[in-house]
């Protein structure tokens, strides 16, 4: 693999009048023990848009995403420095209630991970824990969220069945439904379709497009076609850095950085 000039970057900055920013990071660094995995990333994610993060494996896409709602707190030797700005707060601070924050910044994982409970309970479990007890409201929540992910017709007669009996694609859509049942601001999606078959993938992609009107989404993907299809903005990650960030059409047609160009034209991956 050829060496690239990693100091040269082209990162889009939004002006406040032009676009409201839902989430941004400043000089974000992630260390695993002594090893620096993310080497200072500054990005802004606009509200009600889908931003994709692409890049070769090992470039730190997932690590970066997982630090946005502080899931890296759970990794024993991980340390995250820098700012994560959300609602004019730096949420990478100790005084921020991390549980409350995760209600607003939800996450969907690479492998579908429904609870070993019924479909109904999968969606209502967390809202119940957070204090929603009204049965009719819970019923309503299940119906609306399942409709939002396009799963309602398929499962409405088997809500009491175990979620583990669903297909992989259905499970993943259930996981998305479970996350949006929390009514989050932001959805973080970590390669949500990589473990799915092509048909399920396209259903999940449609689901994301539908959700865009209400949610800000950041999606990590190794599938460039997927990024091109679903996202408004795309960031290219390389070796723990964000080298280029801009409108998706521009990243895929006229990239400014050599590394981006080589990557999107398939010279390495």
């Amino acid at each position: 693999m050829q060496a690239y000039d990693l100091t040269q970057t082209a990162l889009k900055k939004f002006s406040p009048e032009e676009q409201e920013i839902a989430l941004s990071t400043q000089n974000l660094r992630v260390f695993y023990g002594k090893h620096e995995q993310i080497k200072g990333i500054d990005l802004q994610f606009p509200r009600y848009k889908i931003s994709a993060i692409i890049g070769p494996s090992g470039s730190g896409k997932s690590t970066y995403l997982r630090s946005l709602n502080r899931m890296n707190d759970e990794v024993s030797n991980a340390r995250v420095t820098g700012k994560i700005c959300y609602r004019q707060l730096d949420i990478n601070q100790r005084n921020i209630d991390v549980f409350e924050m995760r209600k607003h910044i939800g996450m969907v994982f690479q492998r579908p991970n429904p609870f070993a409970k019924s479909i109904y309970d999968n969606i209502t479990f967390a809202p119940k824990q957070h204090g929603l007890k009204d049965k009719t409201k819970l019923d309503q929540l299940v119906e609306t969220t399942l409709k939002q992910v396009g799963l309602w017709k398929e499962v409405k007669d088997s809500l009491t069945k175990s979620a583990l009996a669903l297909s992989g694609g259905q499970q993943q859509r259930l996981c998305i439904a479970r996350t949006i049942a929390m009514k989050p601001d932001i959805l973080l999606l970590d390669e949500p379709a990589s473990a799915l078959d092509p048909l399920s993938t396209s259903v999940v992609e449609d689901t994301l497009a539908q959700l865009k009107t209400h949610y800000t989404m950041i999606i990590v993907t190794h599938n460039m076609q997927q990024a091109a299809r679903v996202s408004d903005y795309t960031a290219f990650f390389y070796d723990g850095r964000a080298l280029e960030y801009g409108a998706t059409s521009q990243i895929f047609t006229h990239p400014e950085i050599k590394a981006t160009d080589d990557y999107v034209s398939g010279h390495f991956g």
Binding site: M71, E74, R102, A116
Partner: protein, 294 residues
């Protein structure tokens, strides 16, 4: 001797060994059941023991065994759950956790007679509980805790990390996630371990002779007020269990039909342990099926 014949001989010897072990078990079970079961009757299971004459039963001892078991499990199950959850979910990988694990390992390998003597010193004398159900239940807890804790920890560790992430990503605390998602999923393993632990407690005697005591005063099965002295539920009364009873009548040698009573009591003990084993397996499998299938 050539290698082929050596191989054949070795195989034969291994078959003999395997057969011998099966034979030992069959002989053991046959001896106990053939000697003991004819002696087991409703009268035997319910009547109080008689010290100097034949024809006594094991009613009080049997009740004591169960009562002690229930109390010991009531104390040790929540404690081991808490400790197991801490070890598997919260403990960081450092020297302190290593030390905790080592001490649990040491506790699990201590001879039960030493645990019993410790219980005698602490509960019976220091806390002044005397020879009582309470002392016995506490010492059985000490005896049971390390194994149950390890079982809980291992059962929890076998559940995928993705399930914990799922809970946390929904803004739930680790505690809620573990208690309401991970523990139910790990239930087959936990329940199996608990029942096997119960079986071990049921047959334990060495830890009890100096804590729950070696006497079984008459009980009044019509008064269940736990504060009444002869009440079956009174936790402060001495309570000889079935296992201790077998040991005692054989060591004293004053009961004329000691062998018959011991055989009968042994048969009851073994049947109980068998039932514990079968129930553990059955319940474990059933729970597992219930968790995984739709």
């Amino acid at each position: 001797m050539n290698v082929k014949r050596q191989d054949k001989l070795a195989t034969i010897i291994l078959y003999v060994i395997a057969g011998a072990i099966i034979l030992v078990l069959v002989a053991l079970l046959a001896f106990i059941l053939i000697q003991g079961l004819p002696h087991v009757s409703w009268h035997f299971l319910t009547a109080p023991a008689r010290a100097f004459e034949a024809g006594g039963g094991i009613g009080i001892q049997l009740f004591n065994s169960f009562y002690l078991l229930v109390l010991a499990m009531l104390i040790s199950v929540p404690l081991s759950l808490g400790a197991g959850i801490y070890l598997s979910e919260y403990a960081k990988k450092n020297w302190l956790t290593g030390l905790i694990r080592t001490s649990i390992e040491i506790l699990s390998s201590l001879p039960s007679v030493v645990v019993g003597l410790f219980g005698f010193l602490i509960f019976v004398i220091q806390f002044n509980f005397g020879f009582s159900i309470l002392s016995g239940a506490l010492v059985l807890t000490v005896f049971n805790l390390p194994l149950l804790t390890r079982n809980v920890e291992e059962s929890l560790a076998s559940i995928s990390h993705a399930q914990r992430e799922a809970g946390l990503a929904l803004g739930l605390s680790r505690w809620e996630t573990v208690l309401k998602i991970i523990v139910p999923e790990a239930l087959p393993g936990i329940v199996t371990g608990m029942i096997l632990g119960a079986g071990r407690v049921f047959g334990e005697a060495a830890a009890l002779i100096y804590t729950a005591g070696q006497s079984a005063p008459a009980l009044d099965f019509t008064n269940w007020n736990p504060f009444y002295i002869a009440s079956p539920l009174n936790p402060m009364r001495p309570a000889e269990t079935l296992a201790v009873h077998i040991w005692k009548i054989n060591s004293e040698g004053i009961m004329p039909d000691a062998v018959a009573v011991s055989a009968g009591a042994s048969a009851v003990l073994i049947v109980a342990v068998l039932i514990f084993n079968l129930v553990a397996r059955w319940l474990g499998q059933r729970l597992f099926k219930k968790m995984t299938s739709s």
